[in-house]
Symmetry: C2
Subunit: 322 residues, 2 copies
Amino acid sequence: MAVYTDISEYELSDFLTSYNIGSLLSCKGIAEGVENSNFLLHTQKDAYILTLYEKRVNEKDLPFFFGLMHHLAGKGIACPQPIAAKDGALVSHLAGRPAAVITFLEGMWIRKPNVAHCRSVGAVLARVHLAGEDFSMKHENSLSLSGWRTLWNACRTRANAFATDLSVEIDRELDNLEDLWPVDLPVGIIHADLFPDNVFFLGDRLSGLIDFYFACNDLLAYDIAVCLNAWCFEKDGSFNLTKGSAMLSAYCRERPLTESELAFLPLLARGAAIRFFLTRLYDWFYSPENGLVVKKDPLEYLRKLRFFGQIRQISELGLSKI
Amino acid sequence: MAVYTDISEYELSDFLTSYNIGSLLSCKGIAEGVENSNFLLHTQKDAYILTLYEKRVNEKDLPFFFGLMHHLAGKGIACPQPIAAKDGALVSHLAGRPAAVITFLEGMWIRKPNVAHCRSVGAVLARVHLAGEDFSMKHENSLSLSGWRTLWNACRTRANAFATDLSVEIDRELDNLEDLWPVDLPVGIIHADLFPDNVFFLGDRLSGLIDFYFACNDLLAYDIAVCLNAWCFEKDGSFNLTKGSAMLSAYCRERPLTESELAFLPLLARGAAIRFFLTRLYDWFYSPENGLVVKKDPLEYLRKLRFFGQIRQISELGLSKI
């Protein structure tokens, strides 16, 4: 849950005079998202999300994210759209932070995804990858291999507090990933954070995607690896093969994975697991104890990392054949 | 900030089938209120607030609060209205808690109230008191004298951690209040918690009141004492006489205070200060450290208590004559 920054009615009214979105009716801080402060605005015209960018999102990267959201919408991928101010700007400033008004996307995120949800996510992820093919802007993934090493260096000496010999295990894992990470798989635009809270459904229908603030250019199959981590495990920590199968099959129907991508998928899934393990670990040690963020358990992703480390063939993730 | 309980889309959909409010479009936990979990619902029909009652609000008291909100609305006081389920019930259950759907009241609460806001609050408070005169249900104030003593007994031994000799000071203050508390002032329905976050404005116009979950039958002037505490101090801790004057004068134009009420107002203001001091102190010691609630500083109300303890006549609060 977030909302780090409170906004006074004066600041907000002043800010909104530079937009053509009608007069303000209400503004509620919403308890979703952990990176930014989000407010649900009602104006006489419509509902909007006002986002203040707090951390990990650099203002200079916002044109990439907004450009991507605009590009994807043009290709039929439902996602929020930034609203231009009267002067055409998509990014303004409010309460000392970069701020943007974006359209409000109706829908509910799914707390307990079932197989059909995983199938929908697999399909939409492939459609995002295809839609991104002719997007011209570029953005490096700051949370890939070298980024993981940086996070780990900041946490390493304290990590054994979490699990015995953790520092040895993660050292070895990172060395391994650095040695084996593929370089010639298909690349393109990836969402890189397509967790359940970023996918909205209306009833059984996937109604749209949100939160493109980790989107970047990277291996397309790494995005599936993130989704396998995020969607296909049960609360008890077990991997649900039926969900994995539904997700991967649905993806492949829209965009068939190459043999190389399939062969590397278990390794990419280890990478995705260590990425979320390390950001959670870093936040555990470095987030202020101000009561505003509920810290997430890093060990959940250590268990996923170990699971994917034991996978020898793609059938163990749910695809019966290459 | 609140939202203690997360709701799954299944629970929510199931819950909403018993209401005639259209199909669900979205549900966002909102970061306001500290007693209950509140969600802003969009349905195809309208916007609503879904409240799960977490603590301090007893389910058996909800008919009083809802009855009052309905009664006040009938008298022209804008406030949220509970929506009856198809079977007529105003209270249902969701996620193991009493739950209600209420109308969404547009408006912004004022982070930095000015003199005009204090004037509006004084006037609307008097109108609430007048409108409540013929409300037939009764509800005792559980956070009056005896309730303060109970809170204090739970905190007393640890209180000196907050300020030197605090336990002696509060002992003496409570004894004093118990000795001097008036018994024959006008009584009626009071809101009892009319802080800035419970009063909405659209532009300069007061658009409505929310959060009647502390409303009860008690001394009417005690409600003004609460508002003097809540609205008329500056961030530096100083009492703003102009705001006090605006609030009291506006109140008196709608409902003239009796001479006794005016004479007792400084004492009632001490009572209101100690009430919020004690609930904050209690929450400081007893709220779980789960990161969901930002604890409020009890000392703010200790300073207000001391300020009101030095007041000898009503002119020091802003009314030039009785």
